[in-house]
Structure formats: structure tokens, C-alpha cells
């Protein structure tokens, strides 16, 4: 295992001249940017240009490289990065590069159907907690067995979307035909896949056109490693691993074991031959057994979600049903949230029910979890009230009280900026029970009367029923 990269170990591999050509103030801040993955080694011109730094530049690139390589799909502004994982468990740091979701398009479909499907995939979106969740790539599937048709469809899809492409065929001839279409090779499509039968041709093709390439070796990790090693020797750098995925029975067990073993080999054992992102195909839920489309979509959805928790850096799905994709993109968003950074919601004044000037005014923090818990409890209980959301830098009540982000001056400013006084006749503010110690200070600064509410938002309804009308009178 390589030595852990820290500010000093990285700094030592830099020129240490503080020349500023990288755009940073000095080498130390550049080291920080490198570690935060905001910049790369190539952003230091002296390291790149000066021969005397060449060896340490390579050392540095290796030193800071994540144990799972990053692979870039596509070109232009719809580029998608996968892999680049630093740790096995998100609590050890964070997960980088959310799992890319590709939706497949079969070359058996008619041209119009294809374009419609691609458009639907591109248009899919869902807004949740300040982010817009989308799909990431299109996988063109050589289902027809006709290389010409496959190439046609590849070209058609390339024209219809700017999303990154995956070309799926085990026939290297068909792959080549498709890749060499004008408009396709420029996009650096990911080639799915090299196997123990077709590797020579597929590897050469990928190398020639600088395409990322998937090594597919169903339930055979030694074979997968051999494939990956060979692909690398032939000059391919952007390799993705597919150990195969089965949806039930003994082979489901094996599938999950393989994913775990691959990731652990890369991260804990430093196995360079397996240090690549993993792709899984939950779309296999649609194969065989006369199943209703809804059942297949349901199964594919929960299996894709399961794969998100077991190291899949990319998945290929078949369903385009909104309800089936929704849990997958939602879970992905959650898991890839950086656990080190608090998630914050918008501050300001929110209304629940249809509050009027006599309705209670409650106060909470802008920590997303707190806010949504309070909001859900208030909504579910059918409470009518105003809710002031205070900027505590995304910290919950207890932490922000301790750290000072939750303070009386902030509340005063919030009252002013939201102009809540124009919406209420009374001047009573209900604060979270845990913030009792700020009561006096808030009163002094806002001139409102502060009422200490319950410690748990589930008790809000009961609390207001008991005390609010009495106090307002």
C-alpha cells in the first residue's frame, strides 16, 4: 500500500518554488487543492514541462491517485467521471463520483422509438434537497446481431444526445463498425466489452480510439484480473471491471462477494491490477422468466439500489419508468453526500397549512435533516404555522448552539430579513427546547417574547394544542 498522502508529503514532491504559475498563492495551497481533488498534477506547469521534475511528477501522480482509478466518459460538457474512490466506507472520508446510471437502447427498435427513448432519458430529472437528479449515459445494445444496424443506431444515438455513450457488443467487428462511424469515435464511447475470447481486437480498438473499455469476466475474478492486466499492457488506461451480476440464487451471493472482493483488493490490498471502477448491469432483471414489465422494473430498481451500496461505480438499467428510477437516484444522492459537510436548506420563512397573523411562529435550523424532520412532523400533524429557518451553517440545534452558529443576533437578523412582523399580529416566537439558554438574549435583541418549545419536533402538535391559544390570549 502506498503511503498516505498528506499536505506535507504532497508538498515535498512539488517544486517548492512558490512560482504561482498554477494560479495558487504558493505550493502549499496547491498541495491542498491537489488533495481536495480540485486540481491535478498537470496544473503545475513546471512539473509538466521541466525534465528535472519528471520523475517526481510521476511519483506525485501515483502518490495522490485514488486507489480506484478514475475513468472519464464522454467529451465536452456532459463528461461523466466514475471511480476515483478513496475509501471502502463513506464514513472513512466520503464517496467521490456518484454512480453513473446508463439507460440502454436496443438496436432492434425503430429509429423514431430510439430517438424518443434517448430524449426521455435525457429529460429525466427530479429536484430533491437543492439538487437536480439526472441520468448519465446511454448504452447502445447490439441486440439485433446485425453489425450494420448496430453501427447505424450508434450513429443515430450520437446525433440525438450529447450524453456519454456506451457501445455494447461482444463482437469486435460490430464494435469497430460502430466506433468508426463519424460522430461516434469523437465521443470516445465506452466499449462493452472485452472478454477472454475477443480481448485482442477489442483492446486494440479501444486503444486506437482512446475509448474506455470494460473487461467482462462473469464470476471469475482471476480471469477478470488477467483481462485487465492484458488490456493495460496493450496500452489501455481507462479500464472498467464487470464481474457479472445475477439477480437471485447462489449467483447473487457470488455477485455480491465479487464486488466486495474487488473493492477490498483495490483499497485495502493496493492491488494495482484491479484498481479500476466497477460496472454492474441490473438490467438483467429483465431477462427470461415470463415476468410482467412492472415486476421486472420493480426488481431492477431495488437491485440497482442494492448495487449502489456495494461499490458499483456505474450501472446499466433498462427501465425508464419514473417511479422505478426515483429510488435509485434518490439513494445515490444520499450515499454520495459528503458526510463531512453538513447539508443545508434554504433559510427564510416557510408556511405550513395556511397560516394567518395569529398563527404560531416556530424557529428551526437550516440543517437539512432537522428541517425536513420538523417539516414532516408539522405536515403530518396538520399543524398551521409559520416556520423561521435560521442559517446555522447546516448544523443541527445542539451542535450549532455549542459552536455559536445558533445565536440571538442571527435570529434578530432573520426576523428582520423575512419581515415576519408584517405577517403576524403577535410577537411570540417558539424556539426549540434545546435552545432554551438563548431565550433571554433573543428577547433582548428581537423584542419578541420567546417561548421555549418541546425538544422533539414530534411533540409540536401536542405542545401547540396545549399552550398556544392560551398564550396568545
Amino acid at each position: 500500500m502506498t503511503e498516505k498522502a498528506t499536505l506535507l508529503t504532497v508538498y515535498r514532491l512539488l517544486p517548492q518554488t512558490n512560482c504561482g504559475e498554477c494560479g495558487e498563492v504558493n505550493c502549499m495551497t496547491f498541495a491542498s487543492s491537489l488533495l481536495e481533488r480540485k486540481k491535478t498534477v498537470k496544473d503545475c506547469p513546471p512539473l509538466v514541462k521541466d525534465v528535472k521534475y519528471r520523475v517526481q511528477a510521476v511519483k506525485l501522480a501515483e502518490h495522490i491517485a485514488p486507489p480506484v482509478r478514475e475513468v472519464v466518459l464522454g467529451t465536452g460538457d456532459r463528461v461523466v467521471k466514475i471511480g476515483g474512490k478513496q475509501v471502502m466506507y463513506r464514513h472513512d472520508l466520503t464517496y467521490h463520483n456518484p454512480t453513473a446510471i446508463a439507460v440502454d437502447v436496443s438496436d432492434r427498435l425503430g429509429d423514431q422509438e430510439i430517438v424518443d427513448r434517448v430524449n426521455r432519458a435525457e429529460r429525466f430529472q427530479f429536484a430533491h434537497i437543492g439538487e437536480v437528479l439526472r441520468l448519465d449515459a446511454i448504452a447502445v445494445r447490439a441486440a439485433s446481431g446485425d453489425p450494420q444496424r448496430f453501427a447505424q443506431v450508434a450513429s443515430l444515438v450520437a446525433k440525438a444526445t450529447s450524453l456519454p455513450l456506451v457501445l455494447c457488443s461482444l463482437d469486435p467487428g460490430a464494435l469497430r463498425l460502430a466506433v468508426e462511424q463519424k460522430g461516434v469515435y469523437e465521443r470516445r464511447p465506452m466499449l462493452y466489452a472485452a472478454t477472454d475470447e475477443n480481448w485482442k481486437d477489442v483492446a486494440a480498438l479501444a486503444k486506437q480510439y482512446s475509448c474506455p473499455v470494460v473487461a467482462f469476466s462473469p464470476n471469475d475474478l482471476a480471469g477478470l484480473k488477467a483481462l485487465a492486466k492484458t488490456l493495460k499492457t496493450m496500452g489501455n488506461e481507462e479500464i472498467v471491471l464487470d464481474p457479472g451480476f445475477w439477480t437471485s440464487g447462489k449467483l447473487l451471493k457470488s455477485s455480491i462477494e465479487n464486488l466486495e472482493m474487488l473493492r477490498r483488493s483495490a483499497i485495502h490490498r493496493g492491488d494495482k491490477d484491479l484498481a479500476y471502477p466497477i460496472i454492474a448491469v441490473p438490467a438483467v432483471a429483465w431477462i427470461g422468466e415470463s415476468t410482467e414489465p412492472t415486476t421486472s422494473a420493480y426488481k431492477e430498481s431495488y437491485l440497482a439500489s442494492l448495487l449502489l451500496t456495494r461499490f458499483a461505480d456505474m450501472v446499466i438499467m433498462h427501465s425508464l419508468d419514473f417511479w422505478a428510477l426515483l429510488p435509485v437516484v434518490t439513494l445515490r444522492q444520499g450515499i454520495y453526500t459528503d458526510p463531512r459537510k453538513p447539508v443545508a436548506v434554504e433559510t427564510g420563512l416557510k408556511a405550513f397549512g395556511n397560516p394567518n397573523e395569529s398563527s404560531p411562529v416556530l424557529l428551526t435550523t437550516n440543517f437539512a435533516l432537522t428541517y425536513y424532520t420538523v417539516a414532516n412532523d408539522v405536515e403530518a400533524a396538520g399543524v398551521t404555522c409559520h416556520l423561521l429557518v435560521l442559517n446555522t451553517e447546516g448544523l443541527a440545534v445542539e451542535s450549532s448552539l455549542a459552536g455559536g452558529q445558533f445565536n440571538a443576533a442571527g435570529v434578530r437578523d432573520l426576523v428582520k430579513s423575512t419581515d415576519v412582523e408584517s405577517k403576524t399580529k403577535h410577537r411570540k416566537l417558539v424556539i426549540p427546547g434545546m435552545a432554551a439558554r438563548l431565550k433571554g438574549e433573543i428577547e433582548d435583541l428581537t423584542k419578541w417574547e420567546v417561548v421555549v418549545g418541546p425538544r422533539d419536533s414530534s411533540e409540536i402538535k401536542g405542545y401547540l394544542d396545549k399552550y398556544w391559544s392560551a398564550k396568545v390570549q
Binding site: 467521471k81 464514513h91 441486440a143 486494440a204 437471485s248 451471493k253 429483465w286 451500496t309
Partner: protein, 398 residues
């Protein structure tokens, strides 16, 4: 591209080719002093941020390179305790089966380094009074909502629950304020109606729950039920004493705080609760509303247990039915698609995510989730053959 001074011949040839499309010359001989071919694929392929360390030489091997793969197994210093739910006649109760949870020796489903001894167990929620439930859930229980015993029976027989989670919400002073004694009688009814192990939950009222659970414990003497729950700010001593007196286990609940969980576990063990009678509930966040906190929390707890931290070596309970708190699960919406699928799927995904993070026992509301959990568990435990051929998935999917 040939770098060479073009003479008239070459020029003429190229013009001809342009006009005709293709020309062929036979028996050609070219003599040159120096000729340079520069061959490059005609693609623009640079993108920002691409790693570009190229090996200086390329080789094309004849066969695949050799590679050995050995399983990256690790050794663990500790394991999770096992807890038994339900007591059969031989053990002093009247259940027909007992359900064993916990006992993990390796991280969840890292089966290449060991098989954990127990399958995850699934409990279905039953309530002691009719209540507002999301439509997709309620439709399965409309006929039994007035009768907890019938509700429990249906969950056991039709929906295949492993355990019944019976929640005495009517004891809430804000609801019906049912007395602990009356609530305990309902527990007796449910115990008679099903022969599965039972979890008994209070209403969440911190003052009353310990008394309610105490009475339930009395009535259920010998049945090894699970008392759900105690926390650091309830009278946990009272509940533990009842558990000791009547032979039950206890759930220790904390709101997503690992230090609080360790402290609560310490306190409970200190007042005499045996290690094999303690189940923890560190809180399950709904998908989209904090599930990732639970993921990391459970993963940390399980890893710490396996690494030898005695304060966290307990089986984990996940209230996956919390998923229904998410509006995406129950709200009607054209855009989001039919909630008939969306709802149960929301609970299923929440449950599966917790399963992969280390949960040993689940509380769920929808029958579909029970099926999904059991189905996936089967596979993960290696049960069942696969006749699926996925190697040709590219052509096999319609």
C-alpha cells in the same frame, strides 16, 4: 500524409482520384531519398483532467497474461451477540418457532470470509387501534384494522411475517390514553392469535411507555418478547427489571448518535441486562430523508463490533417502515408515477439498504417488502439455483 515535395505526377494522380473516386496503379516503383510517414488516428481526444501517463512501449501479447487472485480475507477480533425471540413450549412459552437474530462474525454479506449464522428476520407492524396509514399500506389491512388479533393473524398467514411488531399506540395520552392494564390484555390476545415471536412497542410517550411495557411483560411472561423500547431519558431500569423478571429482551433506541448508543448500552448492561437480551435501534432514516446517516451509522457500529468493541456487539433493529414518512412514498403524483409501486418500493429500498449495512431485524408495513427482503436474503445466503444466463444479456433483453 506523405511529406514530400509534390511533383506534377503526384498532383495529377490526386486530381484524378478526386474526380473518379478511386484509381488503381499496377506495378509501381517509388525511389526516395527520405520519406516520412506520420500516422495518427484522426480524432480530437483531449479532455481536461484526463490522466495521461503513457507507457513508453506497447506490446501485444499472444495470450492473456497470467493473473492470480486470492480472496482478500480479513480476521475479526469480535462478533455480535445472538438474541432469541420467542420461546417454544420446551423453553417455557407457547410459540411454535423461535427466531434467532445476530451472531455476525463478518461484515454483512461478506460471505467470502465467513457465513453469518442467522437470516435477517422480518416483523410486520400491527397497531392496537385503527390509524391513518398510506393508502398502499391500508388497503391490505382494511378488514382487520379494528381487531389487533386478526391483524396479527393476517400478517402471519397471508403475508408471511417472521415476527409480529405490536404497537400499543392507543396508550398515548393524546390518543385514547388506554391504561397499561387494558393494553396488556390486547397483548394477551395477540399472543393467543399467532404463534410467532412478538415485539411489543409503546406509543412513544416517555413517561408512560415504561409502565405499559412493564405490564405487557407481565402478561407475556415466558414468551421471550422484545420490549420496544428504552432510551437514555426514559425509566429504563423499570423496563429492564420487567425483562429480567419475565424473561424478555429489550430494544435500546437512540436518535442517530453513536456515543449515545454506546452509553445507553453500557447503562443497560450495568443494571443487569444480559448481553443476549439486548437489541439496538440506532434509528433508520427514510430514503431521501437521512438514510445515508443510518447507512454510515450501521456500518460503523457493525465494524466496531467486529473489531472488538464490546459496547456495540448487539444485533440491530431497523424500522424500515419509517420510509413511509417520505412524501415520495405516499403522495399522489402524475409526474412521479403510480404510488402503488412507488410506495412499497420506497420501503423495500430502505429496508434493503439497511440490510446491506448490517440490520438483523426489520419492522415493515407493506407485504411486498417482506417478499423482497426474503427473496434477496435467500440469494445472499446462497439459497436457490440460478437458471439465468446473464453472459449474453446484451442480446437476451428484449
Amino acid at each position: 500524409m506523405v511529406e514530400h515535395k509534390r511533383d506534377d505526377l503526384t498532383k495529377a494522380l490526386l486530381e484524378l482520384a478526386e474526380k473518379l473516386g478511386q484509381i488503381e496503379l499496377e506495378n509501381v516503383e517509388v525511389a526516395v531519398e527520405e520519406l516520412t510517414f506520420h500516422l495518427q488516428p484522426a480524432i480530437a481526444a483531449a479532455t481536461r483532467g484526463r490522466a495521461a501517463l503513457l507507457p513508453p512501449v506497447e506490446k501485444v501479447p499472444d495470450t492473456l497474461l497470467e493473473a492470480e487472485f486470492s480472496k482478500p480475507e480479513e480476521v475479526y477480533a469480535g462478533q455480535v451477540a445472538e438474541v432469541v425471540l420467542g420461546a417454544t413450549r420446551a423453553e417455557g412459552g407457547t410459540r411454535s418457532t423461535e427466531v434467532r437474530i445476530g451472531g455476525a462474525k463478518v461484515p454483512p454479506f461478506y460471505s467470502f470470509e465467513g457465513m453469518n449464522p442467522n437470516r435477517p428476520a422480518v416483523a410486520m407492524d400491527v397497531f392496537d387501534m385503527p390509524l391513518t396509514l398510506p393508502k398502499m399500506v391500508r388497503q391490505h389491512y382494511e378488514d382487520v384494522m379494528d381487531d389487533p388479533a386478526a391483524w396479527a393473524k393476517k400478517s402471519a398467514r397471508e403475508f408471511n411475517a417472521d415476527v409480529i411488531s405490536f404497537n400499543l399506540i392507543s396508550t398515548d395520552p393524546g390518543l385514547k390514553n388506554t391504561t397499561p392494564e387494558d393494553a396488556a390484555e390486547l397483548v394477551r390476545d395477540v399472543l393467543k392469535a399467532v404463534d410467532l415471536p412478538v415485539i411489543v412497542g409503546g406509543s412513544g410517550n416517555k413517561q408512560k411507555d415504561p409502565i405499559v411495557l412493564e405490564k405487557a411483560a407481565e402478561v407475556a411472561h415466558g414468551e421471550r418478547i422484545l420490549l420496544n423500547s428504552v432510551s437514555t431519558d426514559t425509566d429504563y431500569k423499570r423496563v429492564v427489571n420487567a425483562a429480567l423478571k419475565h424473561g424478555h429482551s429489550v430494544v435500546a433506541f437512540t436518535p442517530m448518535d453513536i456515543n449515545n448508543q454506546k452509553k445507553l448500552n453500557r447503562l443497560l448492561l450495568d443494571v443487569g441486562l444480559p448481553r443476549d437480551r439486548l437489541v439496538i435501534d440506532p434509528t433508520t432514516g427514510a430514503l431521501g430523508y437521512g438514510i445515508e446517516y443510518s447507512v454510515s451509522l450501521l456500518e460503523r457500529i457493525r465494524l466496531a463490533a467486529l473489531k472488538g468493541d464490546p459496547e456495540l456487539q448487539m444485533p440491530i433493529l431497523s424500522a424500515a417502515s419509517n420510509a413511509w414518512g417520505a412524501r415520495e412514498a405516499w403522495m399522489k403524483s402524475e409526474e412521479l408515477g403510480p404510488r402503488e409501486y412507488r410506495g412499497p418500493l420506497w420501503e423495500s429500498v430502505t429496508a434493503l439498504t439497511m440490510l446491506m449495512s448490517g440490520a438483523d431485524l426489520f419492522m415493515v408495513s407493506h407485504p411486498a417488502t417482506v417478499r423482497v427482503l426474503k427473496n434477496v436474503s435467500d440469494g445472499l445466503f446462497g439459497v436457490g439455483e440460478t437458471d439465468q444466463n446473464i453472459e449474453n444479456w446484451i442480446t437476451a433483453i428484449e
